[in-house]
Each structure stands twice: as structure tokens, then as C-alpha cells.
Symmetry: C3
Subunit: 305 residues, 3 copies
């Protein structure tokens, strides 16, 4: 009964509503069979979760399983889905850029997929050092598995190490969807292009931004709200932004950057062993073993008496 | 075997546990058949996701489909679910406010639902300008579809434009659940009441707060951690907060506000073409084409030598 | 046809890929049947969501149900799943710490589970005061149910009150997975160890960090980006961090802390009735009824004329 009434009230408006939607058959935000034809965001995220589960078997899913069930049972499925996605993304970019040299997008996609899967043990070795850095660097970490199961910084770095390897393999778009999933889940925004050494630890992490052209050394530790960003954007003679040039800082080995610090510029380099204090604003290089603190403003305190 | 033991240990405690829960049959956080009777949060979020998928067909789901499958197949279902939710929310508010004039909550809900669906092409046109603003304003954006598929600022603004239209249609509660879903997913907290012009771009976005009574012009660009907030809250003669008065700033066309800036107060207006630097704290108006920078504190740098 | 080709290209690489994965059978990030044997993250999160749904029946799910369906139908299932998880986590920690005194992990787990469920009415009473604090403290809150259905601060505090009770029951790991889920969803990072009084309200919330050893009184209100953190980490004679000592501040009753304020150190105590202004950096105690403001830096404003 109710259903009939429901359908009636909306159905009389359907022609005008549908005509409105039809007005944008080829506008920029449509990804359909006859159009752009990229994988959907949710498909990419689900494949990412399977890739992460290969790195941390049994940790992010439902319950402990045998290793065979997790890895042997998933590798082929992950590979097939990932290759299809990379093929679609590559074909989209070829069409956009009117590229004629890419040749066979399918062959590219299969090669990139095998490249990522063969790199997984190396990524896992890096992550092992990241886990130890978190455990040893945080007084609130009571066990190694607590870090693995609950630290958002570890999750963000795990996704980054996968996404960054896809950049190295010249894959377009897919890894940005992956890094934004990690950003959504953790509040940590690491561009896949950034290069990050082993033993990297981000504590708390909400609000961290690490730009595309950052290069970060080994055993670096960041806290929440740290920005490694651009100071200004270069433009070409037509006034359009130049894409891809070096515009974010370098951070050498064994640096600690406390919460809320902002470090900007492609010529800025933080020397190894330095400590950058909370809320510091820094737009130039500092030598190794620098200690950089804000003259914190003395707050004004009024009390009753 | 195990199941039987499991049930036994808990079942002997069930009477006291259930008695505890029964103690709050009519307290403020219960939404049951015989009680408040609003739609659940997850139901609202799922309907929101379907609305967003109508705006970006094929982008957020699983894989490219035909337009017919996505739009024709979803509009009626979305309309029925949304109308039911709006009806429930309106009825809740009428009961709470002892309203006698609202008349037929069902008729209100159907009208609002049709109103939103008919507004969708206009919302999509605004979003098209938002996409171009992101692509043109970010050197790290390598293609238009990369913006659509991965930029959290675009998602937050898309949800906002839907939620804001529901405010214009006088719908209660539902759009706040929607805006908080976008906040959860992106770290960008835009109150549905805020008014935002075309070509709006939020980069990175984590920590952005845009208050209920903000009015933002065209082609405005914000970075992470920007607050457009209230300076103080007015109270009535009983000491209760006054709700709904103008308490957040206005931002005119073509303004850029860099990361961590805080702009407060309902009388504060940022003139068109202005640039507000990172971490600036501003509680008064500035004229058009102002450049507002912090005298950034010179950090103290100690090195080994 | 396609499937066969797909399988062929990847299957020839399978031996080397699988050999890579096998190289880490007993490394630190594996949780398998024959290994660490903790519950997976997703399993913990789903059980958490059921626990929260017992506190706010009908609010976070799909649609209003009868109270019987929600509570009676879920308590036993929640109890069984939670007890299994606690048993696994306790057994993991006993193995890690070579503990010999814990005795029966199952008995421990059942006792803790009953302890949590019997504490739920008390938790709900606290949350009721949190809801009222939000409704009365935010001019944008138009109804009590709007707070319940959409305020991220309330969700984070609800999860915290459950997680903190598990700390009181000496449960390991599980509650950290729970608190990180709330952090992921809200951007609010409250360590389960923190002690928080009734009537607690966090507005907006993204970027808030509340450390493990904080003690917060009644009717405290925080805004986005507030850090209650550690000033420095004590180390033992071997240079390892000392875990668990008091290193985060105390905040007494009726304190308001505005956005972006940083309060650090285990000896720092904010006296009752105090107001801490936006972006204040405070590393020492202040007496009751203090008003602490930054000498906000006067921004430099250049205009065209």
C-alpha cells in the first residue's frame, strides 16, 4: 500500500529529474562504461586492504587464520584485480595525454603488478623497522602487537610504502586513491611521491601533511600536525602552475619534529640529528644536530587575586 | 561444546545486566520504535553515499557501469529512503518543539526530496567548478579524474552542497549526520548552514572548521587546519546560549587562506582578493586585496659549533 | 577466456612471490593460527560498534527497532565475542611477558566481560551528562538528538568510557584498537588510560590528543586541535623509555580549553574554572580561575592603498 503511494509521488517528477541528470553525460565527473572507465574508488580501497593484509596477515581482518589461507589464497586474486585497475588507469592517462608511445597498457599493468608483489618482502622489512621505531619511541606502547594492531602512523606508512612503489613503477592515479584512503582513516596525508627511509614513526598523526617531493631519511619521528609543505608555486609563462618540480623539504636521518611544526620549501633541508620544536615555522635549512625551538609566546595569565 | 560453556557463564549474569539496561528506557540517547524514531546514522550515511554516487556516477563505487544502471536504477530508491528519513526527522522536531503548524510531515518530506533531486544538476555545475579549481590550484594534481577520485576536499564540498540544500529546504538533523560523515572521512568540518560559492578548493583539509553562519564567496582556497569560527557566544537573559545568530566570518571572492589560520567573529569580513598567511590569528575585518602575514617568530637555533 | 590469460601471467611468477612472503613466517607483524593469535582489528571494531549500539540503541544503526531486539538480542553475542577477544589478548601478553601468575586467561576474560557489561548503565549515565554539556555548550546544536546522532566528540567519549573501563579491568591491547577506531572516525585521539569526568564536551575535535596519564575533572570543554601531552620522556639507565609513568597534565573541573592550545607535562595542573585561550602553549600549572591568553601576534596587513 505505502509503496504504491511512495512511487507515485516521485514518479511524476522523474522525467524532469532524469532530464537534469542527462544534461551532464560527458562532464568531468562521470566514469561510465562508455566514458572514462577507471576503477571505482571503493574497488581500489578494497584491493588496497587485501594488499595490506598480505603484509600483516591476520592483523587487520577478522581472526587468526593459517598463513596459507591468507597469502596463498589471496595473491592471485589481488594480482588480477590490481592489474585490471592499473590497465584502466594507464589507458585513461594515455587517452588524456594523447600518448602514442605507451604501447600495450595490459602488458604495462601486468609488469607493474608483478613488480609490486615481488617488492612486498622488501616493503615488509622496512615496516618491521617502522614497528620497532614506534615501540621504542613511545612510552605508551606496551607491546609490539599493540603497535601493529592499533597505531595509525604504522597503517599510513604501510599504505605509503605500497603507494610509493607504484609511483616508482610509473602507475598513475591508483596510488593517490590509496594514499587518500590512508589519509581518510588516519588524518595523515602523505603524497605517494614522497620518499621515506626505514624506521619512520608518526605519533598520533592527525593533521600531518607530507608533500609530493619530500625526501625523508632514516629513523625520523614526527608528531601530529607537522607540515612538510611548499613555500610557493612556480608558474609557467601562461600563468599555469608548473607540476612536478621540487617544492617540499628534505629531512635527513635521525630527526625529530614535534607537533604542529611547519617546514616549507624545496630548498629547505633539515640536517641529520636535528630536533624541531613544537609549532616552529621554518622556511630555510638548518645544519646537522640543530635544536630549533620557538621562543614560545609567554601567555598572559590573569587570576582572581 | 564450547558454545554451551560460553552461554552458561554469561547467562547467569543476564538478569542483572538487562536490568541495568532497562533503567534507561526513556533517557535521551535511545531511538526506538516506541520512542524518538529517527533514522539510524548508518541508514543516513548509506543514502548519502547513493546521492553522491548520482553526482559522480561510477567514481566512488566498484567499477564503471552504464549511466542507466546508476542513475535510472537509483533515483527512485534514493527518493523513497530520503523522504522516509526526512519525514521521521521532521516529526521528531515537531514533537520536541510542540509545533502545531507543520501540518503533514509526509508532504513536507516528499516536497523536500523532490526539491533536492531537482537541484542536483545545479549542484553538479558548482562541483564542476570546484574540480577545476582543485586541478588548476594544486601542482600535485596530475589529471582531472585524479581530483575526482581522490581529493578529500572535493568529497567534503560535494556533501556540503547537498547538505546545505537540505538546510535551504528547512530539513532538520539529517544533513548534520551527512556533514559529520564527511567530517569523519576527511577531517573537514563544514556546518551545513555555511554558504559557499563556486570554485571552492580545500587542499589536504584535515582540521578545517567552517562555522554555521559563514558566508564564503567564489574561488576561495583554503588549506589544512583553517578555522572560520566564533569569537564568543551570546547568551540570553537566562544565561542560555542564543542559537542561530551570526557569529562566524564572511570571506569574499578570490581569497586564499593558508594552513592553520584562525579567523573569528560574525563581524569579521575578509575583503576580496586577500591572502591570509599560515597560522595568522585574525579577529577583525581586512579590506580587499589585503596581504596578512604573521610576523613569524624567529625560531631559536642552536647548533653544535 | 580472459580469466585463463589472467591466471597465466601471474602464475608463472607465483613461486618467487610466495617465497618472498614465506621469508617472514615468524616476523613481528604476523598474527596467524600458529603464531600470535590475537583477534583481528576488524573483529574488535565490529564488537565495539555493537557495544556502542547497546549504549545508544537505534541511533547508530539502520532504523528504529524495539528495545528487545537491540539489547536482549545482542548482549549474549557481544559478551561471547568480547570474552574470546580478551582471552586471546591476555594469552598473548602472558606469553610475551613470560607471566606465570595469570592463571586462567579464560576466567579472566569472562570476569572482565561481565565487569564491562555491568558497568554499562553507569557509563550511560556519564554519557547522558556529556550529551547535555554538548547541547548546552554549542549554539549550533538545535536538538538533543542532533548531538547524539552527529557529534563526533560524543562518539569519541563514548568509546573512551568503554575503553577506559577495560583498562580498569586490566585488559590489554583490545581497548587500544577500540580507541584508535574512534580516532580514525573522529580525529580525536584519547588514550584509554586517560581519566575523564562527567559532562565532557569536545567540539569539532579534529586533532585533539589526550595522553595516557591525563586526569580531567567534570564539565570540561575542549575545542579542535587541543593537545594534552608529554613534555619529555624519562629513560632508564639503559637509555630505554620508561613506560607508564605520569607524564601528561591534569585539568580540574569547569575548565574551557580553546582550539589549538598545547598543555604539556605530568606536573602541569590547570586549576578549576580556568579558561585557556586558542593556540596557548603552556608547560606549567595555573591556579584556579585563571584566564590564560596568548599575546596573539599582531599580523602584518598590507593593502593596496
Amino acid at each position: 500500500m505505502k509503496k504504491e503511494r511512495d512511487s507515485a509521488w516521485i514518479e511524476k517528477h522523474l522525467p524532469s529529474i532524469l532530464a537534469g541528470f542527462q544534461s551532464c553525460t560527458d562532464c568531468s565527473m562521470v566514469n561510465l562504461q562508455k566514458g572514462t572507465n577507471l576503477p571505482g574508488q571503493r574497488a581500489v580501497v578494497e584491493t588496497l586492504e587485501e594488499i595490506i593484509s598480505l603484509l600483516f596477515p591476520g592483523c587487520y581482518g577478522y581472526m587468526p587464520l593459517g598463513q596459507d589461507e591468507i597469502i596463498l589464497g589471496r595473491v592471485v586474486g589481488v594480482a588480477e584485480k590490481l592489474a585490471d585497475m592499473i590497465e584502466q588507469a594507464k589507458a585513461y592517462c594515455c587517452r588524456e595525454n594523447q600518448c602514442t608511445k605507451c604501447g600495450d597498457c595490459r602488458a604495462f599493468a601486468e609488469k607493474a603488478t608483478v613488480g609490486l608483489l615481488e617488492a612486498m618482502p622488501g616493503i615488509r622489512t622496512l615496516l618491521h623497522e617502522d614497528i620497532l621505531a614506534a615501540y621504542e619511541g613511545d612510552p605508551a606502547a606496551h607491546s609490539v602487537m599493540e603497535v601493529v594492531m592499533s597505531y595509525p602512523g604504522l597503517y599510513a606508512v604501510a599504505v605509503h610504502r605500497v603507494a610509493h612503489h607504484l609511483v616508482a613503477l610509473d602507475v598513475p592515479i591508483i596510488q593517490r586513491v590509496m594514499s587518500e584512503h590512508a589519509h581518510a582513516k588516519t588524518g595523515i596525508d602523505i603524497h605517494p611521491g614522497a620518499t621515506i627511509g626505514a624506521g619512520f614513526f608518526i605519533d598520533h598523526g592527525t593533521g600531518v601533511v607530507i608533500g609530493e617531493t619530500c625526501v625523508i631519511g632514516k629513523n625520523v619521528k614526527l608528531y601530529q600536525g607537522v607540515t612538510l609543505g611548499a613555500l610557493s608555486f612556480a608558474k609557467d609563462e601562461h600563468g599555469n602552475l608548473i607540476k612536478g618540480n621540487k617544492r617540499h623539504p628534505d629531512v635527513e636521518d635521525d630527526v625529530i619534529i614535534y607537533a604542529g611544526a611547519t617546514i616549507l620549501g624545496g630548498d629547505t633541508r633539515i640536517g641529520h640529528g636535528s630536533v624541531i620544536g613544537g609549532n616552529v615555522w621554518l622556511t630555510h635549512s638548518v645544519p646537522p644536530f640543530s635544536k630549533v625551538y620557538n621562543q614560545q609566546p609567554d601567555p598572559i595569565i590573569r587570576t582572581r587575586e
